[in-house]
Amino acid sequence: MRTLSFVLIFLVVLSACDSGKKPSIEEITSEEEADSTASETIIDPELIAAILQQIPSPLEISVLLQRSGTKYDGSLLNNPDNTSKYNSNYQKAINLGIYGTDLGYTNIYEQNQDGLEFMSAISTLAEGLSIGQFFELATIGRLATNSKNLDSLLLITTQNFNNINAHLQEQDRSNLSVLLLVGGWLEALHVTCQVSAKDPSNQELIDVIGEQKIILEQLELLLSFYSTKNPNMKDLHESFLRLKTAYDEIEITIIPGEPVSKVVDGVLIIENTDRSEVKITQENVDNITSIVEEIRTKAIN
């Protein structure tokens, strides 16, 4: 009987170690909310990782801008010489994200000289955060000297940032990973808002600005987990809450359709008739632009 009890206890412990079923984001979120009354919030690394991986690459917006015929404007980007201003890990991480977006933007427009300056700034900040091993400046510099290497350059920089995010999460430094993504997203939105301000008739850009509501909700949630742990994060979270309020007026509706597919050259190609519509006014765009500029100015100075 005693042996049987031991076996049962052993099995219970084993099953508790790995149930094989990962909770969904919704399940974990509701648990986190339920725990928010506790004196110290416990941040589930699985939840953080699940949200972080959803955030789209700022490179997508740079490609959109380039494909829509928008001209390169280096004056919209952060000054690569600003690195000496960034002393805290908070400043280094958020500006590493900002420079990451700037580098992607210069790469897409094949502005190699500017790209090298951003690469140097990124390397400096990465060293300051003890993640300098992810940037081989010599390799990237060599790729950047020839426009034929654009695909390799984009690939290697995307991989570097993906590796940094994975490394920071493994090292239990997800707060820095969050700041990296927040900075990258903020910069992409800043550039989009500024380009849109110059060309208010470009509905595609206005829609992109409106669609950021989906990503903002995820980022605001991430920041909320860290807002009690660091005054800078608290301040940033409060700014994001104001931005979220500005986005509350924007409606995104999905009109469902039926997907149709066909196989071409071994690739399954989906023809989807779903579509989304964004209800956003110029006043909304102006309000969002104003708040984004305020947050970004604070972050880069």
Binding site: F6, G20, I25, V63, L64, I254, G266, V267, R275
Partner: protein, 142 residues
């Protein structure tokens, strides 16, 4: 006491055997998948598909897809085929929009032109897989 030690030893051995079977070096497959993205697609993410030797029935990731962008998701596994790994795409309301198993055939890549911005779920399942191990890459183009 001896009986107890035997039981512990038995379970420890079972765990070790399962662990050995479950070894999955997904990085090898993700590395192989990135260059297989079709021409014109920019790499975004690589996903590890580790079914832990069959003890996991699915591996899921999510990503915000943007309207007007075409995405490609491919699968790499042991050999030239997908080793029974199936990728399915679900929209934010969990409606399935695509699956790579078509009429009994395992397709190794899906191209999805997105018309509705939102969170999409990329789910990998195993259908008569032998290794329960693979990798995948996500790319985009406009």
């Amino acid at each position: 006491m001896r009986k107890f030690l035997y039981v512990i030893g038995f379970f420890a051995a079972t765990l070790l055997i399962n662990d050995a079977q479950a070894q999955c070096n997904a990085d090898t497959f993700t590395d192989a998948c990135i260059p297989k993205l079709s021409s014109g697609f920019n790499f975004l993410k690589s996903y590890k598909i580790d079914g832990a030797g069959g003890s996991k029935t699915k591996v899921e990731y999510s990503y915000v897809f943007t309207k007007g962008t075409q995405y490609m998701i491919n699968i790499c596994a042991t050999g030239d085929n997908t080793d029974g790994i199936v990728v399915s795409l679900f929209d934010s309301k969990r409606n399935q929009v695509a699956t790579s198993k078509v009429e009994g055939q395992f397709i190794s890549a899906i191209a999805y032109p997105c018309n509705a911005t939102g969170i999409y779920y990329i789910t990998y399942t195993f259908d008569n897989s032998t290794q329960f191990c693979g990798g995948s890459a996500l790319g985009f183009k406009r």
